[in-house]
């Protein structure tokens, strides 16, 4: 069972809340203090990506964040509700841009596309254990960090 589960409307202003909650639960779970910045950033990237996917596909369901304290690791799952497209997983961000021809410079579309790709680049650069999947029900980014067991006080 998840230690903490969070669902939030796909709005940019809630991504910070997800970051704060994830970092707080990760700290409690025993994730190394030095890795908390990574947790914060990776969760933020995954949530920003999910929010972007929901908004650009007109999905009004919430973004899902599942934080689970396991025996020797702390895992985070960020799920979106945007179904996989024929182009395959991970291609959805590019598909969005394909729907709107890129006008160089001014439109901001190009930047938005850069951000989508860069978000995943940041996650894969930061997190050793990461898995990006996509299916008919939506996509999921799973990440985990090792934890050091804390001595439970009686």
């Amino acid at each position: 069972m998840a230690t903490v589960e969070l669902r939030f409307s796909a709005l940019p202003e809630h991504v910070r809340t997800a970051r704060l909650v994830a970092a707080a639960v990760a700290r409690r779970a025993g994730v190394d203090e030095a890795a908390l910045d990574e947790v914060r950033l990776a969760v933020g990237e995954a949530c920003s990506r999910a929010v972007g996917l929901h908004r650009s596909n007109g999905v009004d369901m919430p973004v899902r964040v599942v934080l689970t304290e396991e025996e020797k690791k702390f895992s985070i799952e960020v799920g979106d509700e945007v179904p996989e497209t024929p182009s395959g997983p991970g291609a959805r961000t590019a598909d969005e841009a394909a729907g709107h021809p890129v006008a160089s410079g001014e439109s901001g579309t190009e930047e938005a596309e850069d951000e989508g790709t860069m978000g995943l680049a940041v996650i894969s650069g930061l997190v050793d254990d990461v898995e990006v999947t996509s299916g008919p029900g939506g996509g999921t980014i799973r990440m985990s960090w090792p934890t050091t067991p804390t001595v439970e006080l009686p």
């Binding site: 940019p12 202003e13 991504v15 933020g44 410079g105 951000e115 860069m118 978000g119 680049a121 940041v122």
Partner: protein, 113 residues
């Protein structure tokens, strides 16, 4: 924590001091600021990130967008940053090769290469 922005002119450079968190929610404000500066004819920008607590790929996208805009006017966009956790994001995305990153505002303002 919200985003704070202030600008000042030093010689032919415009220094944009950014503070707080640059993320998917606040990055549009930074984008507006950079677009406005370029539209007003400031093509040599120094973005001081010493007081930035958090930066994600949305923020990187805005900085890259700003760089494209100033370059269209043969301008420059330099960054000032000493914080390891922020520099790390530039490194893993390969953007340290794209942006000149300086350790002090003075150095960035006087840089010519």
């Amino acid at each position: 924590m919200d985003l704070s922005l202030s600008t000042r002119t030093v010689g032919d450079r415009t220094v944009v001091e950014v503070g707080g968190e640059i993320d998917v929610y606040t990055a549009p404000k930074l984008r507006e600021q950079l677009v406005e500066l370029v539209n007003d004819g400031s093509y040599h920008l120094v973005v001081d990130m010493e007081h930035v607590d958090f930066l994600d790929s949305t923020g990187l996208g805005v900085l890259v967008g700003g760089l494209k805009r100033v370059r269209a006017h043969e301008g420059s966009l330099r960054l000032v940053c000493n914080q390891e956790r922020i520099l790390k994001i530039f490194r893993i995305t390969g953007l340290t090769k794209v942006f000149p990153i300086h350790t002090t505002v003075d150095e960035a303002v006087n840089a010519t290469d």
